[in-house]
Amino acid sequence: MSDELAFIESLRNPKTQDQAFSVLVEQNKERLYWHIRKIVLDHYDSDDVLQNTFLKIYKNIGKFKGDSRLFTWMYRIATNESLTFLKQKSRKLGIQSNEYIHDKAQNLRSDPYFDGDEIALELQKAIASLPDKQRLVFQMKYQESMKYKDISAILGTSIGALKTSYHHAVKKIKEKLTTDQTF
């Protein structure tokens, strides 16, 4: 923890911030990218959101109070940026954000950066049919294997509520996959 505090201090110090920020980007670019990618699905959209996320981290590191871990704070920014991005994109098209992500999932087969088989494709479609909160919880718990404690800090939701959301998400996905008779 003291290492983290020292690192945060170096991010705030104008003399050391550029070097510290390089380290932060290097250490977190892949996991933040994959977290964003699971939410927005498209590679180029994820790249845009990742840029916005790092810009926000750089600009707001001075406002980081240290009452949560740096990792959870960055994940919270990445999650919010991803959801905002989806809302903006869908607003431009005059549809709801869950409709937008549903369409994206339907078109994954033609995405050059989607290598999944039929099972993976159906799973993505089923995940895309979930409401935002359940979708996020399912992705973080099931796909990113995160702990409820960390998800709770990122989403600002109690662990009990997260477990309920996850339970509902799993149930809906199971139903969807069974109804579609993919397996």
């Binding site: 790249d47 290598d115 099972i119």
Partner: protein, 128 residues
């Protein structure tokens, strides 16, 4: 079949190798392949992500305060320009002329208003 023995018991209860790793995916009725990340990125994508790209971008961006000052200054400049134009002596003189006077001025100067700058000619004529 390869198996794993229960360490806590001497009894021969065994599970297939890697059984516990597959539970999460099996609960959803899917194969382990479904748990694998199906997404990929262009080759060498992560190597292109460098902090320098963002720090340069941030430093180039003008601050929000500076942008707002510029925006308000532009609005104020347009506002004052409109006031100056509408209150110029030439335009106030123009407001006071009667239609018949305008016609008389046009006739007196033998000007075809269709071909020339109408307002300018009138102002010049009045000013004379």
């Amino acid at each position: 079949m390869s198996t794993t023995q229960n360490n806590r018991s001497s009894e021969a209860f065994r599970v297939p190798d890697g059984y516990f790793e597959t539970i999460n995916t099996r609960v959803l009725g899917m194969t382990t392949a479904a748990h694998k990340n199906p997404f990929s990125t262009p080759k060498g994508y992560f190597a292109t992500i460098e902090a320098g790209n963002w720090t340069k971008k941030i430093k180039k961006q003008p601050s929000v305060v500076r942008l707002n000052i510029l925006r308000y200054s532009a609005v104020a400049a347009v506002f004052f320009a409109v006031i100056l134009l509408t209150n110029s002596p030439a335009s106030s003189q123009l407001d006071t002329i009667e239609d018949s006077e305008i016609l008389a001025l046009v006739e007196a100067n033998w000007i075809m208003p269709m071909n020339l700058n109408w307002q300018k000619i009138l102002i010049q004529a009045i000013g004379r």
